[in-house]
């Protein structure tokens, strides 16, 4: 209390904050910024790196040896994302609605079991489905014959036209538990009295859902969508496990994650390039950032009015 005018340096804040902050800064923030920086560099004659401005990006987006792969991966990635938006979230919503029905028995059992695949590694899931869809084992084929569609069976994972969709469906199958769980929680959050009020107002269950419940869970659906967006544009394991780094057949399953990996580490004849890898990562960063911004600025603001 002698130096009551000057407060002592708050060492305790440093003590609490520094260890976590240091690791976060060194192994997450710095690498991210450094990657952005490296995307402006190229290989120099002396084996080091030299500043090349936007050359890497120009190459990636316009030089056909690179740009074909890039646009292909971007297109595929959007396709992958749309498959999730069209199936994963609606199915998750449907399951959540069913689970939230009053007086449902076995509720917890269903919830636990349906969420189970989400817990497993994407790699494992990829292999499992590869086995099931394999014409050698014939499980899927026999099943298709069983329901009278045997002639429609094909080795879906092996065909250019169907491989990406099949992988998308596998991913949907695995992760449907996440939208289900989040939407279920937000449905439970709707006060009973509001639902009662709509029943008293004469709404049937369907009307209650569309006029009252759905608008109230829109923020959650928006959040699930942006989570899906980030996860999809960051995906890698499933394609790598099932189709390898080359994302075959003929790059038809190539997405940003696999393109990034190949660019960075190289494959077959092409040499890996850290700086080009960094450029791909930077573009992925921009895409994800754009998605998050759209979510925060447009969707979140508009949806705020629905909040309780």
């Amino acid at each position: 209390m002698k130096h009551s005018e000057r407060r002592p340096f708050p060492w305790h804040i440093l003590f609490f904050l520094l260890p976590g902050l240091a690791i976060y800064l060194v192994f997450s923030v710095y690498p991210l910024l450094d990657t952005l920086r490296m995307s402006f560099y190229g290989d120099a004659a002396d084996g080091g790196h030299a500043f090349v401005g936007l050359r890497n990006f120009v190459t990636l987006l316009t030089d056909s040896t690179w740009s074909d792969a890039f646009w292909n991966a971007l297109k595929n990635n959007f396709e992958f994302f749309f498959i999730h938006m069209l199936l994963q979230n609606p199915i998750g919503l449907l399951l959540a609605v069913l689970l939230s029905l009053p007086k449902l028995r076995l509720r917890n059992t269903y919830r636990t079991l349906i969420f189970m695949p989400t817990m497993l590694s994407v790699v494992i899931i990829g292999f499992i489905w590869q086995l099931i869809l394999s014409p050698i084992w014939g499980i899927a084929e026999n099943f298709m014959y069983g329901i009278g569609l045997g002639n429609h069976f094909d080795s879906w994972l092996g065909k250019e036209g169907t491989a990406l969709i099949t992988l998308g469906l596998i991913s949907v199958w695995q992760f449907v538990g996440i939208p289900m769980m989040l939407i279920y929680a937000s449905l439970l959050n709707i006060p009973d009295e509001i639902v009662d009020a709509s029943v008293v107002d004469g709404a049937n269950p369907l009307q209650t859902f569309f006029y009252v419940k759905l608008p109230l869970i829109l923020p959650t659906i928006a959040m699930v969508s942006i989570l899906t967006f980030v996860a999809n544009f960051n995906a890698f394991e499933l394609i790598y496990a099932v189709k390898g780094a080359l994302a075959g057949p003929n790059f038809s399953t190539d997405i940003m994650g696999t393109l990034f990996y190949r660019t960075f580490f190289g494959f077959q004849l092409q040499q890996g390039s850290p700086t080009m890898g960094a450029a791909v990562a930077t573009l992925m960063f921009l895409i994800i950032l754009a998605g998050v911004m759209v979510f925060l600025l447009v969707v979140q603001r508009r949806i705020n009015r629905f909040q309780l």
Binding site: Y24, L32, V123, I226, A241
Partner: protein, 293 residues
């Protein structure tokens, strides 16, 4: 029949159309049951067939293993040809260390950011929040460089460090939200008694954070245990291989040995499923509580 599917302890919204309600209940259960089968069937298929002989796997893939078809050769192959014990051990060490440190450092940082006002406070909180949305993978090029310079490639340390950095943002976010709900009288009472800031945190606050920490632990643990990307890039060596990478490499190598492939997948699945079934209640509570905000 009705009592079996719908709990009659809770009121129906009006008792008109009793029959229609039973019909509706059946339809709801049919949908949920169908989806449950879809979710479980592939996993069960692998588990069942890993116990069968090669012949039985192909002749009758849906059959349960019988005395005739029981064959644990696949597991023998896996344990013989690869170092599964080591992989599992590596995964365990990495996951426990990373999750433990995420919890401790995350709680400390969350406390510092929510309890004390200082310059840069908001900026740091925002920096951590960004990490929730922006995947750490995008910095992989530099992370690898860094690990090379630190001579940490092919060590578990590299994985632990990266996973701490990966897990901290969400941990700081969830724990901060939780710390805000702790009544400030608690801290003020302690301060009036002249207890040091360190002791307030470790003796008063940390024990209170336990429920939130359980949630954070689950959220942090799953992606770490299941990750393929960083083990593949930072620690692909035989000695530092994690179980996910180990299985991926093994399956890639022995694609044609169905018994071995199915067994290795089973070995990777079972521990996770057992843990999940034990902790599912906790996990789901965390997931549904976290969704509220």
């Amino acid at each position: 029949m009705k009592a079996l599917f719908f709990d009659r302890s809770q009121p129906a919204t009006g008792g008109w159309q009793r029959g229609a309600q039973t019909g509706k209940a059946l339809a709801v259960h049919a949908v949920l049951l169908t989806y449950t089968v879809i979710a479980l069937f592939p996993i069960l298929l692998v588990l069942i067939n890993s116990l069968k002989s090669r012949k039985a796997i192909f002749r009758d893939p849906l059959g349960l293993p019988s005395l005739d078809t029981l064959n644990l050769g696949g597991f023998e192959q896996v344990l013989l040809r690869s170092d599964f014990g080591l992989y599992a051990c590596n995964s365990l060490v990495v996951t426990i260390l990373a999750v433990g440190l995420v919890l401790l450092l995350g709680a400390m940082a969350a406390w510092a950011l929510t309890e004390y006002r200082f310059r840069g406070n908001l900026l740091l909180a925002f920096l951590f929040a960004m990490g929730i949305m922006i995947p750490i993978r995008l910095g992989t090029v530099s992370i690898l460089n860094l690990m090379v310079q630190l001579h940490l490639v092919n060590t578990l340390t590299a994985l632990v460090l990266v996973y701490i950095a990966q897990g901290l943002p969400l941990a700081v976010y969830i724990l901060s939200e939780f710390i805000r709900t702790i009544p400030k009288e608690l801290k003020e009472a302690a301060r009036c008694d002249g207890i040091s800031e360190y002791k307030i945190f470790f003796a008063v606050i940390l024990p209170l954070l336990r429920p939130a920490m359980a949630t954070v632990a689950v959220f942090t643990m799953i992606p770490i245990w299941n990750d393929l990307w960083f083990p593949l890039i930072l620690a692909p060596g035989e000695e530092s291989r994690t179980i996910t990478l180990g299985v991926q490499q093994f399956v890639g190598q022995y694609v044609t040995d169905w018994n071995a492939v199915l067994s290795s997948l089973t070995l990777a699945i079972v521990p996770v499923l057992v843990l999940y079934l034990i902790f599912s209640r906790q996990l789901i509570r965390g997931l549904t509580a976290g969704a509220v905000k």
